[in-house]
Amino acid sequence: MVTDMIAGLRGWLFMRVSGMTKKNIQIGRGLRLYKKLEIQGPGRVIIGEGCTIRGAQGDPGQYVTLYTHSEGATITIGRNAALCAARMSAKFSISIGDDFFAEEAGIADTDFHSLDRDRGVPQTEDENKCAVMIGNRVSLGARSIVTKGVRLGDDVIIAPGSIVNKNIPDACYAMGNPAKVVQEFK
């Protein structure tokens, strides 16, 4: 009860301070911060209304990070998202629908380095190929990773420890490396 109030207050303060100091961040009302939220980089970050930021259960060292690595990068998160120690890195765009839930999971829309020997900036990536689109009511399990260019449909559940590198259709449960559809909801 008290922690909820403190989280609400912390979220309101974060919203106000980031609204004053940074132009590229846009946060909806009703943000609750139970744990640290770190937003870095020159890109745009848009968070919808009523989001909750938490840490991983039993791991006090982890917190939510939203990083943008270029001017044109955008991270868009819909309403009522619950992020528990989720980590996102965007170079192009990550767009997430409403009621998103991630637990200790990672999303990245770039490989950060090319396959060349010099390990420079990857040249073959562009926005059409690498943008990550995630639908409404998606849940990501602990220690799972969504890689570049993946589209997840609505009502998808990803099991803990899975690595998603192909598109996943609507209303299903996927697990494994690479993630495959195990069960379809009806």
């Binding site: 909750t52 938490r54 259960q57 039993g58 791991d59 006090p60 060292g61 009522n80 619950a82 528990c84 009621d99 839930f101 637990e103 009511r137 849940s139 399990g141 602990a142 220690r143 609505d154 009502d155 559940i157 099991a159 803990p160 420890g161 899975s162 690595i163 209303a171 449960y173 697990m175 494994g176 490396n177 069960q183 909801f185 009806k186």
Partner: protein
């Protein structure tokens, strides 16, 4: 019977003295770990009002954190080693949750999140891994349009004695791992049974191989 016990104690003391002379620094670290284990036992017993029981001796080389309202028992002669990240973390997410760890376990880096029941047998070795007896630690946040209560509900995890859990392995609900088995690096188990003395690998795990067969193949 009494004399035999006395003789055993004498042998142990002699061994400890020899160790102290041969490796004085190691001896000091070990004594510090023992004292730390004693402190953890008293601290968690007092903090949890009796729901956490840690049997001594416990060698705590790294941190132990137990949170949540459920029952936790750790058998005697366990040790918590340093691993990639901090030591042993146990979270019970509901009052009916129960975590029991057998005696002589070597625990390091493992995270246990429990909503119903997690059991780890004696003499088990763990690396940086995750044991979670449900798909999500906080299922209230899953807002699927379809009915997924079956998928999200908690099951039980049973890990037998003398099991070796590799690094980054994930053990999920309704998993049974029989004794003497090995779970390989990065394996993910859910709703599967790994037989006695076999090797489980892959994500999700493939059909476990019997280790006796693998040993034959190696020769």
């Amino acid at each position: 019977m009494n004399t035999e016990r006395l003789r055993n104690a004498g042998a142990m003391l002699a061994k400890a003295a020899r160790y102290a002379v041969q490796h004085p620094l190691g001896f000091i670290v070990k004594i510090a770990a023992l004292l730390r284990g004693c402190w953890y036992a008293v601290y968690f017993f007092a903090l949890s009002r009796g729901s956490v029981t840690i049997k001594l001796p416990l060698l705590a080389y790294d941190t132990l954190s137990i949170t949540g309202p459920g029952r936790v028992t750790i058998g005697r002669n366990c040790s918590i080693y340093k691993n990639t990240f901090s030591g042993l973390r146990i979270v019970t997410l509901s009052p009916e949750a129960g975590v029991s760890i057998g005696k002589n376990c070597a625990l390091g880096g493992i995270t246990i999140r429990c909503r119903r029941n997690v059991e780890i047998g004696e003499k088990s070795i763990t690396a940086y891994s995750l044991v979670q007896d449900a798909l999500f630690a906080e299922p209230g946040n899953v807002r699927n349009k379809f009915d997924v209560t079956d998928l999200v509900s908690a099951g039980t995890v049973y890990i037998g004695s003398n099991v070796w859990l590799g690094g980054q392995a994930i053990i999920l609900d309704q998993t049974v791992i029989q004794k003497d088995s090995v779970v390989s690096w990065g394996a993910v188990c859910r709703k599967q049974e790994v037989g006695e003395y076999s090797l489980a690998f892959g994500n999700p795990i493939m059909k476990p191989y019997s280790i006796t067969q693998i040993m034959k193949f190696q020769r």
